[in-house]
Symmetry: C2
Subunit: 140 residues, 2 copies
């Protein structure tokens, strides 16, 4: 996370230099302030959207309060949190594309997660994963 902030800081610095260079290169001194502010606004808007998604993407999926997940089984099978999350959404009848949209990641990522999940659960289809997941008390 710290490295990400550093990278963004550097990108911002580069942007500032670029703007300064443009100021010298062309004669746009009269509207440079609005332009400057606009660019910065766009930049921080993008950053805000990204950060918002990044920070709120955790715990998007929750299980019911009365259901207790068999953590031991999860560890035994080597299923990660993200994979468990995907399994839960699969059990709710969502397609991979819908899961990707819900978790703000790409379709390919969900396909990787589900593939690894099926390997670890020793199943070959999502319906089997749901069935086995319920048996093992991984999902309600």
């Amino acid at each position: 996370m710290t490295r990400t902030l550093i990278i963004y800081g550097l990108a911002l610095a580069v942007l500032v230099f670029l703007l300064k260079y443009l100021e010298y290169r062309f004669v746009v001194r009269d509207l440079s302030i609005e332009f400057y502010v606009g660019i910065v606004a766009v930049f921080f808007t993008a950053f805000g959207v990204w950060a918002g998604l990044k920070l709120t993407r955790k715990q998007v999926v929750k299980v019911g309060p009365e259901f207790i997940v068999d953590e031991a089984a999860l560890n035994r099978l080597g299923i990660s949190k993200r994979e468990h999350e995907v399994l839960l959404l699969i059990s709710q009848g969502l397609s991979n594309q819908e899961i990707a949209d819900k978790l703000f990641v790409s379709l390919n990522t969900i396909k990787t997660h589900s593939s690894n999940l099926f390997l670890k659960m020793q199943v070959s289809r999502r319906t089997q994963a749901v069935q086995k997941g319920k048996e093992l008390r991984l999902i309600p």
Copy 2:
């Protein structure tokens, strides 16, 4: 069923005439008996296999004794017995091909059943059908 028997009888008659014709057409009188018996054996073997599958295909799928199906919901949604059977097998994680093999029908038939099932249940994927089927107490 009666028509099927009639058709098979006619086919058998045609087969007899065909064999008689061959006897006159070619000089195969010496091995005609073995040939005759062989053809009839193959024919009745095929018929036996077909009849056996046809008669034993009923009640292949059963639900557990402690689970009671909500028949009212089935009628309300207009779901037939066969469709309910398919839904049960879908919920057990079977693929359409596996269901077809289990019920001794073709893959296309299962696809038709599942399509109609999804229409009646107002879902678009089998995982959703399983989820909704459990909610409606159609399947355990």
